[in-house]
């Protein structure tokens, strides 16, 4: 049966016909791979996701984790699925051979992981966090830390978390107050509270490896005084229970299969080594914690975009199937009331909702895969210059890769519900859960608003605006390749990209960051749409000269995006160019 998680045909088009990922096998890191291994691991991911993750998605949603004061209980299917995930070796798919990894290109590993996010985003969070955690320690940890924590994570024995947020410090990490007090033996003791920690407590693994942001007393104020620590639930060297305890579980709208926790560090509930305080070990140098954490967060941000895409994608496929099967109403022109009803897919408005979903989810998949491909280039492109360019472009695109799918694939889920009519609003069908699950994505890993500030306040101005210039050059190169039937789209794209550069200049010409950044979210959305239009044109170029329903579907969805979506950016960019002060000037008392 064709999968209702993701379209394998679309994945293959994007990976092989557009991104040409087979070329990556020429690079030494991936020399052991071939199209055959890529296909086999995609098969494996699709199968495990379908058989072991999708079936308990609803059950996990309906039976959220419980805490009896000592132990967190989850439905047993979660552990079973995660054991299979670990046994098949998927955790280490992209990692170095030196730790037992398979050195699969990130773009293929990302495609594989998307199947799990589509099947069961709650259960897939555990490996998601574990992989990110292991990658961070590989990059910045000591060889001992790699041996102690990464190897067991690769084997699926330990799981990982990322502990940044605190009750009083979410978006503003400068305000974290967790303290890390140095000890004579070189270790630290941590004291404080961490809020919202996903996978922070459970019985799914032997140990939980927390990566914790904290401040060493006497360090500079703000983000420059934040250090990163590895704090295991069980102290590996002694086997003692560390002084990290669950204060309580958060009860969420979605992602219910993932435990979400308030953790207390150093409250003396456990006394490893005979004293209170959570035993922690510094990662890298003191006060450089945030840049290290960004190693994990940048990958996690693309991963969040991927999760949003995957939820949108599966919702689209399910609503498409529903629309083909649900008879309702007759064609506008039909005169005979006794004629049989048509399936709702025959109605123009339903087709509009399906097309909108298609262009959001397939556009988002292209965006996520493109960014993963840049991650590969950043790591393994042949020349130093190519690697730097990939890094710069990826850095610029990251806030969009996180936010665009989070916004528009959520909208896709809303449309999937709409296509189902009243049935979509019930728990009989999957789409309402996808919507609830997906509603998290504009919030965590930096809210939508924070991503807007990151794009306009940092990314497009960094290094004298080189990131934006590179993005503009890259988009222009695509626009220039569009000729014949696609020439009009090339021209429309070029005009939009030029306008982004112009408006960015106008915003910063004021010299007043308050004015420039007042509508950063509008900027994020406008640039996001231009970027996705570019990736749609890329897809249409890859489909040029090819025939059949699949390629015709690409062409119509691409044109739909240019017709219905890209023009939205006109008024947005006009608003930005006008340096509108409404949001700055509105008095709090008026709201």
């Amino acid at each position: 049966m064709p999968s209702l998680l993701l379209s394998r045909r679309d994945l293959e088009f994007l990976l092989y016909e557009w991104l040409d990922v087979e070329l990556l096998t020429k690079r030494p890191r991936h020399a052991e791979h071939s199209r055959e291994t890529f296909d086999a691991v995609l098969d494996l991911a699709e199968q495990v996701a379908t058989r072991d993750f999708a079936p308990h998605n609803k059950k996990a949603d309906e039976n959220e984790p419980t805490f009896d004061g000592t132990t967190v209980t989850l439905i047993p299917e979660v552990k079973k699925a995660l054991d299979v995930f670990a046994q098949t070796g998927l955790i280490a798919s992209g990692m170095d051979e030196s730790v037992g990894g398979m050195q699969l290109p990130g773009v293929v590993a990302g495609a594989c992981f998307a199947f799990f996010q589509a099947a069961n985003v709650g259960s897939s969070s555990y490996p998601f966090l574990t992989i990110g955690n292991a990658n961070l320690l590989m990059a910045h940890g000591t060889p001992e830390q790699v041996d102690t924590y990464v190897r067991p994570m690769v084997e699926g024995r330990f799981f990982g978390t990322m502990c940044l947020s605190e009750p009083q410090a979410g978006s503003s990490l400068a305000d974290v107050t967790t303290r890390a007090v140095p000890q004579d033996d070189g270790s630290y003791r941590l004291f404080g509270n961490k809020m919202w920690i996903s996978a922070g407590e459970h019985e799914l693994s032997e140990n939980i490896v927390h990566l914790v942001l904290a401040k060493i007393p006497g360090s500079p104020p703000g983000v420059k005084g934040i250090s990163l620590f590895v704090v295991p639930k069980v102290v590996v060297e002694t086997g003692e229970r560390n002084d990290v305890v669950l204060a309580g579980l958060n009860h969420k709208m979605g992602y219910r299969g993932t435990t979400n926790t308030l953790l207390n560090f150093g409250e003396g509930v456990h006394t490893p080594g005979g004293q209170p305080g959570a035993v922690g070990f510094l990662v890298g140098e003191a006060n450089r914690g945030l840049p290290y954490m960004f190693h994990m967060m940048n990958e996690a941000r693309i991963g969040v975009g991927s999760g949003a895409m995957a939820l949108g994608y599966t919702g689209y496929l399910k609503s498409l199937q529903y629309a083909r099967e649900r008879p309702q109403g007759r064609p506008v022109a039909a005169k005979d009331p006794s004629a049989p009803q048509v399936p709702i897919i025959a109605h123009a408005d339903v087709k509009r909702m399906l097309l909108a979903q298609k262009c959001y989810v397939e556009g988002a998949l292209a965006l996520v895969l493109y960014c993963n491909r840049l991650l590969d280039d950043e790591r393994t492109a042949e020349t130093q210059e190519d690697r730097e360019q990939a890094h710069l472009l990826l850095d610029t695109l990251t806030p969009i890769a996180k936010s665009w799918p989070s916004q528009w694939c959520l909208e896709a889920n809303s449309l999937a519900i709409q296509v189902h009519g009243g049935y979509g609003y019930t728990r009989e069908y999957d789409v309402e859960q996808h919507y609830r699950d997906n509603r998290l994505n504009p919030i965590h890993e930096g809210t939508h608003g924070i991503q807007g500030l990151d794009l306009l306040g940092r990314k497009v101005v960094m290094q004298g605006g080189q990131g934006l210039a590179l993005l503009h050059r890259t988009i222009s190169a695509t626009a220039a390749r569009a000729s014949g039937d696609l020439a009009d789209l090339g021209a429309q794209l070029q005009a939009s990209a030029d306008r982004v550069v112009e408006v960015t200049g106008q915003l910063w010409a004021t010299g007043d960051p308050e004015v420039a950044l007042a509508n950063a979210s509008v900027y994020l959305e406008a640039v996001g749409h231009v970027v996705v239009a570019w990736l749609w044109l890329e897809q249409l170029l890859a489909a040029e000269g090819r025939t059949g329903d699949f390629y015709d579907g690409k062409r119509v969805a691409g044109r739909f995006f240019f017709r219905y979506e890209l023009p939205r950016t006109g008024p947005q960019l006009d608003l930005l160019a006008s340096l509108d002060r409404t949001t700055l000037d509105v008095k709090q008392a008026w709201l």
Partner: protein, 259 residues
């Protein structure tokens, strides 16, 4: 204990399966193909016996070139090597001819056990292991839901309608398995990488000593003369519950021999 597992590539169970209008053979080109599902259980069983007894597991498959995908899957589950019988002249061979060709290939191998799935989801004849046993003059243990090997003796539990029979034979023997027997493993990622390097021998008719006029559509003892598509599904029967709905449903199921 050296084991040969017979593996067949079939159209995906969910795909719309069609016969080619020109020569009335199975249309393999236009559909997704997969490993015949029960064959995964056969591979799994062979790997379990191997883990216990040692020896080698060899995959044998007769299939067009594309069959390599299915063979690799069996190798990535953990089998050691494979033999792929592939020759355009085999196209259109029926079950009797296929058993002849497979018996020839088996004749080139040394084995204690041949394990196969009890039937294939495309042809559903469930006749390959009896045909092979006959041709090779070796005992057949069919429909196994459990296999135990003890020295030169193989014992199975044969699934029956009401329970099971215990049947045994001396090796070499041909065993067919049913889905109850185990839970097939997934190929692991390491297995996928390793499968690329495992020995895979491709044989043509000549390599296997198969006589060309004994295989292929032209000389097939059974021929598809005519076929038509299944009529569209009939409307179902609605049972109205007038207090006796349960009884009526039970009667219906009994009349269809479903309970």
């Amino acid at each position: 204990m050296n084991i040969v597992v017979l593996v067949k590539q079939v159209p995906d169970t969910w795909a719309e399966r069609k016969l080619d209008a020109t020569d009335k053979t199975l249309d393999r080109a236009s559909v997704d193909v997969v490993m015949n599902e029960i064959d995964e259980y056969a591979v799994e069983e062979a790997l379990r016996i191997q883990a216990d007894q040692g020896g080698e597991v060899t995959i044998v498959s007769m299939a067009p070139d594309r069959g390599v995908e299915t063979i690799r899957k069996a190798l990535s589950m953990g089998a050691d090597k494979a033999v792929h019988l592939s020759d355009p002249a085999l196209h259109g061979s029926d079950a009797v001819q296929t058993s002849y060709a497979l018996a020839k290939v088996l004749g080139t191998l040394e084995y204690d056990l041949v394990i196969a799935g009890s039937e294939a989801t495309d042809s559903r004849m469930a006749i390959m292991t009896p045909l092979l046993a006959e041709r090779l003059g070796q005992p057949q243990l069919s429909g196994a839901r459990k296999v135990t090997v003890d020295g030169g003796t193989v014992r199975i539990e044969r699934q029956t309608d009401n329970g099971y029979d215990v049947v045994e034979a001396s090796t070499p023997a041909i065993v067919s398995v049913v889905e109850k027997i185990n839970e097939p493993r997934y190929p692991s990622f390491k297995g996928i990488m390793a499968a690329k390097k495992k020995p895979l021998t491709t044989l043509t008719l000549a390599d296997a000593g198969i006589e060309a006029d004994r295989v292929g559509l032209a000389s097939a003892p059974s021929q598809v003369v005519e076929f038509s598509n299944k009529p569209p599904r009939q409307a179902g029967q609605i049972v109205k519950d007038e207090g006796d709905g349960g009884v009526k449903v039970a009667e219906y199921l009994a009349s269809q021999k479903l309970v």
